[in-house]
């Protein structure tokens, strides 16, 4: 492994933190402590961790309803989880004062512009962020994390075309987790290779194993280099899979058991852990330590969220206009 040890461990820690956070959210939602509905990225953490490990603090990302991991990864390992948890609990101390919830977590201070529940908007808003970067000449890049389902929206086509035509420093990072809600991408398109879409916009299309954090890191790194050199937009299809349903409580009747078993076997966290241990980057006790620290951090976040007050009713009327 060529990469410096600290960065490898950092990516591992990030995946573990995202997993711990989301498993806690699943539990607390099942216990009725969290309102609304929840979409988890359990099994897809390598994407958030591998892409964001490439990003500068001032780079911009956008994400979707399945975005907890992207926000955490963009914030880095020092980014506190407590305001995120409080937001998902609907509390006043939440990252967005209890007005966003799980689906719309955002924090422009760390470069998370928006988490969009209407598909394709994560991409078109990232086009706008990339336009700002280009016009101001800041060297920033924008990354839109989208899902496979977005590939069938008009916004995907319009956004990719615009980004390509204007040669914007943008990476459209598509996590193909095989299902758009409950419908397979291979039933809703006639494509077997989703990167074929990229050719129609005149941008490179790259396919990567989205459960291999090193592969994700490297493909994102190449795309960023292109973007920062002014060579424009890249489309990356990351082949990954969802270990849980579309939403928490989804009985997944549409999903063959073998497909889920295969997905569980490809879990990116033990896979990377074994790799790191074999390479002598990490010892098993060190890895256990990282897990314990993540669980403790999540426990603290839950305490903070639980003890925080709900917003006062007057808050309904604030933040509509600047």
């Amino acid at each position: 492994m060529d990469m410096e040890k600290a960065r490898l461990i950092d990516m591992y820690r990030m995946m573990v933190r995202i997993r711990a956070f989301e498993e806690q959210v699943a539990k607390d939602f099942a216990d009725g402590k969290i309102p609304g509905f929840i979409h988890l990225s359990v099994g897809q953490e390598a994407n958030a961790a591998g892409v964001c490990a490439n990003l500068r603090a001032d780079d911009i990302i956008t994400t979707t309803h399945r975005g907890h991991g992207h926000v955490i990864a963009k914030g880095g390992n020092k980014y506190p989880l407590a305001p995120l948890m409080a937001e998902i609990y609907g509390k006043q101390t939440g990252l967005n004062k209890g007005k966003a919830g799980s689906q719309h977590l955002s924090d422009l201070d760390i470069g998370v512009l928006v988490a969009e529940g209407i598909q394709g908007t994560a991409l078109t808003l990232a086009v706008g962020a990339a336009l700002t970067a280009k016009l101001k000449g800041t060297g920033q890049v924008a990354v839109a994390f989208i899902g496979d389902g977005t590939l069938n929206t008009g916004r995907f086509h319009e956004g990719m075309n615009m980004a390509s035509a204007w040669k914007l420093p943008l990476i459209c990072y598509c996590e193909n987790n095989l299902y758009a809600e409950t419908t397979s991408i291979y039933e809703s398109t006639n494509l077997t290779d989703l990167t074929a879409r990229a050719a129609s916009f005149g941008v490179p299309g790259v396919s990567v194993d989205g459960n291999d954090v090193m592969a994700v890191y490297e493909s994102a790194s190449e795309a960023m280099a292109r973007a920062r050199k002014g060579e424009g937009t890249t489309f990356i299809e990351a082949k990954t899979c969802r270990q849980r349903g579309h939403f928490e409580g989804d009985p997944q009747v549409y999903r063959p058991r073998e497909q889920l078993d295969e997905c569980l076997k490809k879990d990116p966290i033990p896979r990377f852990r074994n790799k790191l241990v074999e390479a002598g980057v990490l010892t098993e006790p060190e890895a256990e330590g990282i897990h314990r620290e993540a669980l403790a951090e999540v426990d603290e976040a839950v305490c903070f969220a639980t003890e925080s007050p709900y917003p006062a009713p007057e808050e309904v009327l604030t933040d509509v206009y600047a």
């Binding site: 808003l125 086009v127 706008g128 336009l131 016009l135 924008a142 075309n161 600047a322």
Partner: protein, 325 residues
């Protein structure tokens, strides 16, 4: 003082703001070399280069690029050509552009201006003639202006571009084609968003009229004056926020209210204004409120049908006579 047309007013407003603030950019279909279909942006590409961007026919990407660039530090102006085209990107307006600030807990600003042609009267048929005021008014987070004169257009567009919130600017094609002019001061000026203007003072009936309808209301007022009926014509200029105070104050004086709005009556701006006055100033009214609107039909093509569809002086005079007779 000098005289300018409505078209010139738009051009000067955008030009001056682009000169004043390098963060202002303009994007739209056909804006670079054509200066947009009516030519209101002519000369800006030559002056501001890459800050003027031609887009494809991609309203959802245009709105996304607008919201995304606004949130990250630019002040985009986007030309979404005709009123009905806003429907193509309506969720981008009603969600990404106007709800996101709220959903960030106030962390993000969206200083963006959408500029759109409205209005019938040119036989543009069902898809290029709408004034979708009412539907946009039901969009928390959005401000809306509909200037009726070149003076107001220049002042309001400059304010819209400087505003830290998204603003929809509606400009009526009839006002551009009419070649009407305004006197404007030599020095720079703006018109504040949210302030109505009494375009003609009167004492018997308040007529709240929007956009082109302001001029039809003034024409009706001139004719009714001969019959001894005095109309006060209130131009809200901004539909969001709406200057309720000026409207209610006028109703306090006249005791009667007619709203003239070039939209199908249902869920129109007129509906909202009527509801506000009924709810907040019922005691000031000596007669029922009347709405002079278009019928609840699509906008027809044939000039004969279109004339019948559009609210005009005769419709307003009939309504006023019913109220005062």
């Amino acid at each position: 003082m000098r005289e300018i047309t409505y078209l010139k007013a738009i051009n000067e407003a955008v030009d001056e703001e682009m000169a004043r603030d390098p963060l202002v950019i303009l994007m739209g279909q056909d804006v670079r070399k054509w200066g947009a279909p009516l030519g209101e942006f002519k000369g800006l590409y030559e002056k501001y280069g890459e800050r003027v961007l031609d887009t494809g026919i991609s309203e959802t990407a245009m709105l996304g690029a607008t919201a995304g660039s606004a949130a990250t530090g630019m002040r985009p102006i986007v030309h979404i050509m005709f009123g009905e085209f806003l429907g193509v990107c309506m969720s981008d307006i009603r969600c990404a552009l106007t709800k996101t600030r709220y959903m960030t807990g106030g962390k993000t600003r969206f200083p963006a201006t959408i500029m759109t042609y409205t209005g019938a009267g040119r036989s543009a048929a069902g898809e290029h003639s709408a004034c979708p005021y009412g539907v946009l008014m039901a969009t928390p987070g959005l401000k809306i202006v509909a200037p009726s004169t070149p003076y107001d257009a220049k002042g309001l567009i400059k304010s819209a571009i400087r505003e830290d919130n998204p603003v929809q600017v509606f400009y009526h094609v009839g006002l551009i084609f009419s070649k009407m002019t305004s006197q404007i001061p030599d020095e720079e000026y703006t018109v504040s968003i949210g302030e109505a203007d009494i375009k003609r003072e009167g004492s018997d009936v308040t007529v709240v009229a929007i956009g082109l309808m302001v001029h039809r209301a003034i024409a009706a007022a001139n004719r009714l004056q001969e019959k001894g009926i005095s109309l006060e014509v209130v131009d809200p200029r901004s539909l969001a926020p709406l200057d309720k105070q000026t409207i209610i104050k006028s109703v306090e004086k006249t005791g009667r209210l007619v709203i003239m709005d070039e939209e199908p009556k249902t869920e129109s701006a007129a509906s909202e204004i009527a509801a506000i006055v009924a709810e907040e100033a019922f005691d000031l009214l000596d007669a029922p409120i009347k709405r002079v609107c278009a019928p609840d039909t699509p906008i027809p093509f044939s000039p004969a049908l279109e004339r019948a569809w559009m609210p005009d002086e005769e419709d307003l005079i009939r309504a006023v006579v019913e109220l005062t007779g």
